[in-house]
Amino acid sequence: MKYVDEYRSPEIAAQLSAEIAALADGGHHKIMEICGGHTHTIYRHGIEDHLPDGIELVHGPGCPVCVMPMGRIDDAIAIAEQPDVIMTSFGDMLRVPGGRGSFLDAKAAGCDIRMVYSPLDALKVARNNPDKRVVFTAIGFETTAPSTAATLLRAAAEGLENFAVFCNHVLVCPAVQAILDAPGQDLDGFLGPGHVSTVIGAAPYEFVARDYGKPLVVSGFEPLDILESIYRLLQQRVEGRAEVENQYTRVVPWEGNTRALEVIDRTMVPRDAFEWRGLGTIPDSALGLREEFAAFDAERLFDLPGAVVEDPRECQCDEVLTGQIKPWECGVFGTACTPETPIGTCMVSSEGACAAYYQYGRFNRAAATAGAGA
């Protein structure tokens, strides 16, 4: 753990940059950061400007808002339109466009839709409104699933009868596997998500190294964490190794948070398949509520359209989410599609690649290579 204690030192940043350049040795290395939090850090700190030209960072599917298919948004709005329903969700979800508009549009049309900061807040809304049916639209990877799971256990313990969850939790490993299985995939390694791994640990990624021969380094979110993780990926490549390493040991135990995994398992079960925006339908890639929690399951309590809704024609989120194009290559990027008027999901959350590019001024190839604001 050469750098862990000093992950904010400027000397080490410069040293790492130089060592990365030496290891890269003029070659091309295509590295995917799976997590939207990493995408955001990379642009916020201009990390690409500290890397040699040959290192290409590709943005992965790890922004839960970005991978929500339009059909699920329409389902959530259909629930919100039922009598006596108060719909709750995270702020970013309110702006995600579905086939029939967003939560915000539904709210403007008279639905009671409220932003909450956590499922616990949604539970509070349910306690305070006993004559209403309060539904929480849950989204997120394994980072957020424990929060939903713990809230379900609390609701059950309290015997709360007017609270339900519309569960859209997704799992990171099946998405990574789908990317690895995609035709033409030419990635050289992965930066593994930090906080998802706090929950699931580093062990579940071993298939990436074992079955696909690609190195993966679970990384923290400080700029130095990311630089060190890239350094370690290159080191593996130079030495001809493909292993899972954990750079983020200060919060990620190798085996994860067993208590969190246990509450997820008590309340949720993998679905046979789930549609992801950009990646299509992936088997065993999402969680639904267990039979024992049927009384809290919005999917069982409400009639849902359950339709598969095509993305708008001009939207190229699928290509952005699979790393085939950079955000500025999408025809509507920064013109029709902006954070204020998102057409695609990648422009909604600040973890989305399009929103990160937009906010940090990477409007085109020149700006992207010259560095933002430079």
């Binding site: 995270f90 930090g194 990620v252 509450v263």
Partner: protein
């Protein structure tokens, strides 16, 4: 205020260090981002919030210092003591910060 919020409607959030502090790495100010937006979306993505435990409360709850204020979070899933640094995601502590 809570440990799960969205850019655009985000309360100031706990920031372990000023961004890029002393790194010599530039911090790019977001263009067109709402002035009150935090440095990252913490709604639902991977970036959770590090906070310090101030007091333990009944019902597996804890009062924590986020650096930007105090809030109540669930600590059902981690063994915590007063003074511990914990990682909170969507109102739930999911891990401890070592060292």
């Amino acid at each position: 205020m809570s440990a799960g919020a969205s850019a655009g409607q985000t309360p100031p959030r706990a920031e372990p260090s000023p961004p890029g502090a002393g790194l010599g790495l530039p911090v790019v100010d977001a263009v067109g981002a709402p002035a009150e937006a935090g440095p990252a979306c913490i709604t639902c993505g991977d970036e959770a919030v590090e906070v310090t435990v101030l007091a333990l409360e009944d019902g597996d709850l804890a009062l924590v210092d986020t650096g930007a204020g105090r809030e109540r979070v669930s600590v059902m899933l981690v063994e915590v003591h007063v003074g511990d640094r914990i990682l909170v995601h969507a109102g739930e502590a999911i891990g401890k910060v070592q060292g």
